[in-house]
């Protein structure tokens, strides 16, 4: 007998295009149009994976997104991905997949010993066994993870590209089956902008796997004609291979488009996936339904499948998953499948139907000589890792709650099961729609909508093609109408047959003979059997949400698509409560897993946030700058010259400022232009110190608090005219400060007539610092910048290097210094002119490192001190705090805790031995050899070697530091184990009187 399970003809595959692929290192052939699952089945591969808990052999169970068992590790290297449903992987040439949850191999799995001892692994086993002693949990967890595992993720960066898309439409239709197609058509005909989303490569939904007719055409010919029609319409976008993953508030839906997953690699400009955010005025949900398994003994042996899946493999892929089938059903839908399976050349050993009465659907099956056993059940499957060997059948007693009579043993190699159909209400439920239980068809259906959506077709438990077409057309027209297209009306639907699933005989647990302990699986992915649910109830779990977590029912990557209803029905039986009272667990997005890359999109690496470069960036680059990210800016860190080490460069830059003149690009500092008659009053209320009486032509250093009294930001603000100010902020707080000011003006003080606007990018700022700075500037401007003409903290509007600009006499380096501001466009011109004119004065650029050193030497806070827990007084600004005016945060600073004397205060640090560097981020402690945990007295916020003071210094915030000058403590880094004895000193370590900068 040939090993191929491919039919001689038929199917929607292209037999002229064979594709080669490997599974667990064995090479196989499939065809274009196959899924990995259909190609494996065609090659007779039944064993796909080992199960999560018991390591039982598992095969393919479905033909769609509901697949709980047939999950593989797909691709290799950087592109490898775990937990991929083989049923949704389109085959491509060279595909490589391997099985999961097996060690060392899927055929010889060491851990399947778990299966032999499976009575030791009941529900809650992990909780009971491993939660005590707590310290051991980590050890246990590691062992469990190795043994259980769920595949492995790639250990290299993802080489693929992903995109984000944003779209708006009038009507979004989720699902391209018969109802969805008719909905899209009706909505589109009215002129509405329609997005039709379907997860498969080909529209048609369940019709792809059936042999049905629409009007006189075969159903798939009809689908193709509608597809062509829709594609020709400008107002319609069709997204195939796209899953509606999530339905969020205000009709915002997230779609996951698999643009490149069907290709060996998505190269060129094709992203691997696109993540769409769609804002839809109206939504039509046409998401279909999923067949339910039946819960009988060993229903997880490879080869036990959903009946519609066997039918789909036969019709769509030309694959018969077995040669000799038994079909076990509780409804009519399986009979159509049996006919198709028979047509495809399969032998049907028997149809086992738990219902007592023959229905019309039985007749054509009987006519083909296929035995049908009514009022019988398959209670056990015989088989192993090589697949199904046969089934055991028994009759039901009168009540239908026990098996009776003798066992009928029957050989077969595939078992179809059909426990009825569950409408796919995931998206409806995510949208906050309320569900209703329908007892006659034993399922939840959409009841009350919350958002702007309606369901149509099988997802609303409308069975039968004809009804689905009609309902889809109606829903599409309704949606368009609700979106404002008044003339919308349902397009007429072609006549077709309307077979439903008939009467259903619910049987949530198939009875088994007395004293049998057969595993009857409910949740195949999480290895939850009926006995686990029963145990959970016996142990007192009555809420469905608790039962779910205790047993892990429905918690797998499939989110229980095939197991939820069966699971809660068993809970309902055990609790003797009707199903609506038991309720259902929450459906959470996404419908199927979305890979992290799609969520990240292009926002990775350098593109995670915008990179901002100053107008002088090119100049810095030419000058050999090394850049450092600061906030969103790239700032020059230091300018290394040939033969210099990094530290050589930094110390040279620092000394050059202290002895000659240096220039530093301060463009990234936040700059806010403030105008309006109430500007001075506004600033007065924002800063702790007074700004109302600041004269025109002067600037002032200011500190801002939050309402809770903690320091928010600092910077200098200049008065350019009576009603015009220019505020600077720290680079990091430029955005938050602007937002804070806008909030105050819009919400707190709307009566103030003030406008604020960010001008950070508009101005190019350069600090010119050092003893020669005045001389340098004097060469470039006619303005009076003498000590009298522009005294310390003065500001002047001037012409500089032939262009208009401003000169601020401010200094953070402690030297005589100025800041020059010109339009960013003129920045490079002014900067290079200054550099040129100052050559004989020794002008050189300096970077952020030199700037930090000089700030530390002067005791200017560098950044880490503004940690949201320090007050103005803690940082030494207590004297600046006004008591004559109200300001933001004022009432908080009288809080008793703010007045305590042993608060952590800013202090300078010096290394006691002069040789040991103060470790960065270190803790300040009294005795590093003391007992752990020891009291943390403070922390180092900045540290450096001062080339001017020729010693290691730092800044820190330390308990009661102001009264502890001269005390010796220790700076200890628990991370690096570095330790340094430090002496507390005034933060103003260099030129404490400030003579240099005022000169």
């Amino acid at each position: 007998m040939s090993r191929s399970y491919r039919t001689a003809e038929g199917g929607r595959i292209d037999r002229s295009k064979p594709l080669s692929f490997t599974f667990d290192d064995v090479r196989y052939t499939g065809f274009q149009g196959d899924t990995l699952a259909s190609a494996l089945l065609a090659n007779g591969v039944k064993l796909i994976a080992r199960s999560f808990k018991y390591h039982r052999p598992r095969g393919i169970m479905s033909a769609g997104p509901e697949e709980p068992c047939g999950m593989v590790q797909l691709r290799e290297g950087a592109r490898t991905e775990p937990n991929i449903r083989a049923t949704q992987v389109e085959l491509f040439d060279g595909l490589v997949a391997s099985s999961q949850n097996r060690w060392p191999s899927v055929k010889w799995d060491v851990n399947s010993i778990n299966n032999l001892f499976n009575r030791m692994l009941p529900a809650g086993f992990y909780y009971k066994t491993f939660m005590w002693p707590k310290a051991m949990w980590m050890t246990y967890e590691e062992v469990i993870r190795h043994a259980a595992g769920m595949g492995r993720s790639a250990d290299q960066p993802d080489p693929d590209r992903y995109e984000h898309m944003h779209a708006y439409c009038d009507v979004l239709v989720a699902g391209g089956g018969p109802a969805g197609l008719m909905a899209a058509k009706s909505a589109a005909d009215s002129g509405a902008r329609v997005i039709l989303v379907d997860e498969n490569p080909e529209l048609g939904g369940y019709l792809r796997g059936r042999n049905q007719k629409v009007g006189a055409k075969s159903a798939m010919d009809w689908v193709a004609s509608v597809h062509v029609e829709l594609e020709a319409m400008e107002n319609v976008t069709i997204l195939s291979r796209t899953t509606v993953a999530s339905y969020y508030d205000h009709n915002m839906l997230v779609l996951n488009e698999h643009t490149g997953d069907h290709l060996p690699t998505a190269d060129g400009w094709t992203p691997r996936q696109r993540n769409w955010k769609v804002w839809a005025k109206q939504v039509v949900l046409a998401t279909g339904s999923i067949e339910r398994p039946l819960v009988f003994g060993n229903n997880d042996v490879p080869g036990v499948m959903l009946t519609n899946a066997i039918q789909a493999y036969a019709n769509q892929y030309g694959v018969t998953p077995g040669r000799n089938a038994v079909v076990f059903t509780n409804n009519d839908s399986a009979y159509e499948a049996v006919l198709d399976m028979h047509d495809a050349g399969m032998r049907i050993a028997a149809v086992v139907d738990n219902r007592t009465i023959e229905t019309a659907a039985t007749k054509p099956v009987r006519e083909r000589g296929i035995p049908v056993f009514h009022n019988h059940v398959v209670f056990n499957v015989r088989g192993n890792k090589h697949g199904v060997k046969g089934v055991e059948i028994m009759a039901l007693n009168e009540a239908g709650d026990h098996v009776a009579g003798s066992i009928i043993k029957m050989d077969c190699d595939v078992v179809g099961m059909s426990g009825g159909w569950t409408p796919t209400v995931h998206l409806f439920s995510q949208s906050r729609g309320k569900l209703r239980w329908m007892e006659d068809i034993t399922t939840f259906v959409p009841d009350v909508s919350f958002q702007q959506e309606r369901s149509a077709g099988a997802c609303k438990a409308t069975w039968g093609l004809n009804s689905c077409l009609k309902e889809g057309a109606k829903a599409g027209a309704e949606a368009a109408k609700a979106a404002g297209f008044d003339t919308a009306k349902p397009v007429s639907s072609p006549k077709s047959s309307d077979d439903g699933m008939g009467e259903i005989r619910a049987m949530w647990r198939v009875p088994q003979p007395p004293h049998s302990h057969l595993k009857r699986f409910v949740d195949f992915q999480d290895d939850v059997a009926a006995s686990d649910v029963e145990l959970a109830i016996r142990e007192g779990y009555t809420s469905i949400e608790h039962t779910k977590r205790y047993t892990t029912l429905g918690m797998g990557t499939d989110q229980g698509k095939t197991s939820n209803v069966n699971g809660l029905a068993i809970v309902s039986e055990e609790l003797d409560k009707p199903i609506p009272e038991v309720g259902h667990t929450t459906f959470r997005p996404p419908y199927t897993a979305v890979t992290m890359g799609a969520i990240t999109g292009t926002e990775r690496g350098h593109h995670f946030s915008p990179t901002r470069r100053s107008a002088l960036h090119e100049w810095h680059k030419q000058a050999g700058a090394t850049f450092v990210p600061a906030g969103m800016w790239m700032r020059p860190q230091y300018y290394q010259q040939p033969g210099e080490s990094m530290w050589d460069a930094i110390y040279r830059e620092t000394l050059n400022v202290r002895t000659k003149v240096g220039m530093f690009d301060v463009s990234p500092l936040g700059k806010i232009d403030i105008q309006g008659p109430d500007s001075a009053e506004f600033l007065n209320r924002c800063y702790i110190n007074g700004f109302g009486k600041l004269p025109v032509g002067k600037c002032r250093y200011g500190v801002m608090l939050r309402e809770d009294g903690m320091v928010f930001d600092d910077g200098t603000t200049s008065r350019l005219s009576e009603n015009h100010f220019m505020m600077t902020t720290t680079t990091a707080k430029a955005g938050p400060v602007l937002q804070h000011l806008e909030y105050l003006l819009d919400v707190i003080w709307p009566e103030l007539n003030v406008h604020v606007v960010s001008v950070t990018e508009e101005w190019c700022g350069m600090a010119v610092a050092g003893p020669n700075s005045r001389e340098l500037l004097a060469r470039c401007t006619d303005a009076d910048i003498s000590n009298e003409g522009l005294p310390f903290m003065g500001v002047a509007e001037v012409d500089i290097c032939g262009v208009p600009g401003r000169i601020y006499r401010i200094s953070f380096s402690g030297e005589l210094a100025y800041e020059v501001g010109v339009s960013s466009d003129w920045g490079p011109h002014v900067w290079s002119t200054l550099m040129e004119k100052g050559q004989d004065l020794g002008v050189a650029p300096y970077g952020t490192e030199a700037m930090s050193i000089m700030r530390i030497e002067k005791g200017h806070v560098v950044g880490a001190e503004l940690n949201g827990r320090t007050t103005a007084d803690d940082l030494g600004f207590g004297g600046m705090t006004s008591t004559k005016k109200a300001f933001i945060g004022q009432r908080s600073i009288t809080k008793p805790a703010f007045l305590e004397t042993d608060r952590k205060q800013l202090t300078g640090l010096k290394s006691v031995d002069g040789k040991t560097k103060i470790p960065r981020g270190a803790q300040i402690v009294a005795d590093p050899k003391g007992r752990i945990p020891m009291e943390q007295l403070g922390e180092v916020t900045a540290n450096c070697y001062s080339p001017n003071l020729k010693e290691f210094i730092g800044l820190a915030i330390v308990k009661g530091a102001r009264d502890r000058k001269g005390d010796r403590l220790w700076a200890f880094s628990p991370l690096t184990k570095e330790c340094c004895e430090v002496e507390l000193c005034s933060p103003h370590m260099y030129d404490p009187e400030g003579e240099r900068l005022r000169g």
Binding site: H166, Y248, D249, H250, N251, M252, K277, W279, R432, F450, E707, D708, Q739, E742, Y743, D746, V747, I748, P750, S882, T883, K884, K885, A886, Q890, R891, S892, T894, K895, P896
Partner: protein, 96 residues
């Protein structure tokens, strides 16, 4: 989520920044700034906020748009936004 800025119209949530409870008013300044004291009124304002289940009046900032603040009446369970209005106007709708 879509939020209707009173000046710009319906825009995606990502353009906005939540700025707190619109029903909390900042206590008025004392007549003499020297009297500004930490007291219960101020404590309530700085630290305490209700966490209502249901309709809630909020301040939002159209930070990536016109940069104006406005009020929104949002249902904290369903995220339905009944109304938005400039700070100076009253909100309507909801069950409030």
């Amino acid at each position: 989520m879509l939020i209707k800025c009173p000046w710009c119209g319906d825009r995606a949530l990502q353009e906005f920044s939540y700025q707190g409870d619109a029903t909390v008013a900042r206590p008025p300044e004392p007549a003499d700034p020297a009297d500004a004291n930490w007291d219960d009124e101020w404590y309530q304002f700085v630290y305490l906020r209700d966490d209502p289940k249901g309709w809630h009046d909020e301040v939002w900032h159209h930070i990536q748009g016109c940069r104006k603040h406005f009020k929104a009446r949002r249902h904290t369970v369903t995220h339905v936004i009944a109304d938005t209005a400039p700070m100076s106007e009253e909100l309507k709708g909801g069950d409030k």
